[in-house]
Assembly symmetry: C2
Homo-oligomer: 325 residues x 2
Amino acid sequence: MTTARVPYYLDCDTGIDDALAVAYLLAAAADESNGIEIVGIGSVSGNVSASVGAHNTLDLIALSGRDDIPVAVGAHDPQVGSFRGGAPHVHGANGIGDVAIAKSVSSVVDGESAEQMLVRLAHEHEGELRVIAIGPLTNIAAALRLDPALPGLVKELTLMGGAANVPGNITPVAEANIANDADAAAEVFAADWFITMVPLDVTMPNVFLEHHREALIESGRPVAVALGHMLDYYFEFYVGVYGHRASALHDPLAVAVALGEVGLKTAPVVRVLVDHTDGPGRGQTICDLRGMYNGFPEQSGAHARVVLELDDDFAPTLLAKLLTA
Amino acid sequence: MTTARVPYYLDCDTGIDDALAVAYLLAAAADESNGIEIVGIGSVSGNVSASVGAHNTLDLIALSGRDDIPVAVGAHDPQVGSFRGGAPHVHGANGIGDVAIAKSVSSVVDGESAEQMLVRLAHEHEGELRVIAIGPLTNIAAALRLDPALPGLVKELTLMGGAANVPGNITPVAEANIANDADAAAEVFAADWFITMVPLDVTMPNVFLEHHREALIESGRPVAVALGHMLDYYFEFYVGVYGHRASALHDPLAVAVALGEVGLKTAPVVRVLVDHTDGPGRGQTICDLRGMYNGFPEQSGAHARVVLELDDDFAPTLLAKLLTA
């Protein structure tokens, strides 16, 4: 007897926190009781180029013994303009903190781009596919253009991105994933599907500290050790943000939210649009949170759940999961 | 022997919460130990038209026995477009909650507009004049155009307006005073003077409740009683915001901050600009609060103090003051 598993597609720009997210997702899938199947992974330019991101992802999943998962390369450039070279000051020249991990013997998917893969998977798993996007939304918007019926095929979309009641990280109001392709993000939020947005409001206050990093390294487990070393680079960048060594837990938190593995204390469903003008607000996720003083009354037409507050600190949950990776 | 008093110019769009602010300022000035002199008041269209606002202000100051203070009518229309009729659903048809108070026998200043008065006063009190703006910034921007030297003449500008880490009240990101003339606000924030911004972040959580209103009415003092009756109208509007009868304390809080009568727990000096595009962010005060995770490190070129948190609840301070009005 076979039990149908819940299919997930991950779109990423790997990236140190993407590496944590991939490891989290793989660890969750390795637990048979979760009934999770990762049916495909796509890469997009963001922290690194789409090509580098795909190869980092291949290497990471090989380290986890999962080089059977197909990885497709997605968009190199945002909808408007060109890829600007990523964030080596945050993620290192190779995107994973300049840590060397074994190269996978597998190759990226041949003849199918990330957005093509996403559309195909959405049809194959009609009404069931869960999409997790932890990079810029270029591929997701491209898939919407490829098949405008996509929102009706996908069960839900969870994304790491935006800032609601806190500052951005690229501009005073814009977060990097959204700002890196504001036009794509505007299309994704305007489409008629249910979105769960995991913004800086929750990813910034939930951090790994040195003792979490040490626990990863001390575990002696290959994936955990590699992640611990990558975080050394990430922690240095964040000294300028937090005033001490730490790392925000952006992407793994989005995966944990998508899997329902963290409790959401405040997460209203509200209208969200993305500023894709050329003004100073470009890249901002404009969330209509005016109902915050009155328990967020229902808004007609709202279809984005904005995670503003968790029940508990995410770091222990993440650490426990990564120690099984 | 005479002691030089500290000169204040108030720019307002009276308005119920403006009425509270005017009463607060007059009560503070009535206390000789404060050494405050209100050298002029200008009106601007916002909650009501500039003309109605001027007459409401005249009537209020007459009720306080201060019809000696000159009140000048300012801009009827914002820089771009036309005055849209104010907010009768918030402030009543007459702007003061449809409460009837005695008409002042005094008249508005003849032959001098609010911005002309502001420029003249800034020269007469060079380096000393404190400006408090609790309406749209049309007059302040007009004064800047009339005399570009104004920032060097004025000691400081305190304004009620904007939203930093909380939603707006007119759009998801824009507060009414700023949004009512975003172009003027952009000029005011770009000018080289020290601004203290009192945004919705602090004016929304600090509220009057029914017992405060009753205390005003029970005092039997003419000004306090009139304010208590006005608040009845304002409280009804805010049921839709807070879910119960209450009022935000926008304008009086700005006056109290300008007078140094409330403690500021968090009030970083940061770069602020106003979105005056035609995009969805129009009217937003974009405050660079990215340093919030690290104690707000100093920013070069920053000249706006953004009040994010007070030491104490403002309502008791306000009530005590108004009971002396």
